[in-house]
Chain length 201, copies 2
């Protein structure tokens, strides 16, 4: 009897293997062969899922984007005010612990690789756009509730907040001590206070 394969479960196994390889050995190790070895699969089985290295990298990127997104959603409750949701969305993207530092490192590594890989760039463009849209939505809501200045453009502010978090992550990569978790949260909260966002949840 042929083995019954659950494609979702197989994809999940692959995702775990990709994460383990990338977080332990870096992006250079994310190859068809490296992932196959980690998952205990044949390279042919991996090739059933990815036609080339770029597809594999896009998968690795989506995996990280998905980890971050789930954590963001996990920290938001329906009772939260829109500005609390904004903070939850941003704080989860800062490298505040080892796991998030690894994600940030891989994220920027993938950003570098996207310079020459259009499919990877497209995935990143979509992720940034979605992130800005979610923030802009919450900021619009906050403005309608009178919690933000009328003059504030939610889309411009969303772009600036995403930029701040991204740029802080870059500096934290180079100076993990000087730009430690406390400093990073303070810098984000300082900016959010300027918008009227409470710094403690």
């Amino acid at each position: 009897m042929p083995k019954v394969v659950d494609p979702e479960q197989r994809r999940g196994e692959l995702a775990e293997a990709v994460w383990r390889v990338a977080s332990r050995d870096g992006l250079a190790a994310v190859t068809m062969r490296g992932v196959a070895g980690e998952a205990g699969w044949s390279t042919g089985s991996v090739a059933h899922y990815f036609s080339d290295k770029e597809e594999l990298l896009v998968f690795a990127f989506e995996l990280i984007a998905d980890r971050v997104r789930r954590r963001m959603e996990g920290h938001v409750s329906p009772a939260d005010q829109p500005l609390e949701r904004v903070r939850a969305q941003l704080i989860e993207a800062l490298p505040l612990d080892e796991e998030r530092r690894t994600e940030v490192r891989l994220w920027f590594g993938l950003l570098g690789l996207a310079l020459t890989r259009p499919a990877l760039a497209a995935a990143q463009r979509a992720a940034y756009r979605a992130w800005r849209d979610v923030l802009a939505g919450a900021l619009t809501e906050a403005r309608e509730q009178g919690r933000l200045a009328e003059s504030l453009d939610p889309h411009a502010e969303a772009a600036a907040l995403v930029a701040l978090v991204d740029g802080l992550a870059v500096q934290a990569f180079f100076e993990p001590r000087a730009m430690g978790p406390k400093r990073l949260s303070e810098l984000l909260d300082g900016r959010l206070r300027g918008l009227g966002v409470p710094s403690e949840r």
Copy 2:
């Protein structure tokens, strides 16, 4: 008679060759061989200057950092107020034209490569630190002149401004149209107005 070689001039030739290769063909083409070919040198002559690929990449990074720095300095006159200097320092790092878009692309590509190359990471750490220090100095001066709130921490604000510019450059890479020059300057100026910096010079 042996040919007299001016080391400074030779280094300048190399720098031009590295810039041409990188801006035209990307960082993957910045190899000992690629640079030698572009400069019309032997690989051995290039090896006289760089012992390995990492040294060559550090050189490429310093070259770009130097271009940006010179442009920043060129836009600052001794008569400028400290907050005008802050704006000049930041605006030159935004991808506002083709040349600066190329620089930003290479900058982030080098950032990705630094993840696994300590000497390159050290050069980038030093560049970010120097940039923050210059900005923090100008912000401190502005505060002493009563142009900034006493409560503002110049070092924290410098880190946040560098982060904003870096993060905007990332988004502009993915969405050159939506995040065009006008939008980018507006976003920076919006933030600077919050600090009391005039948006026009």
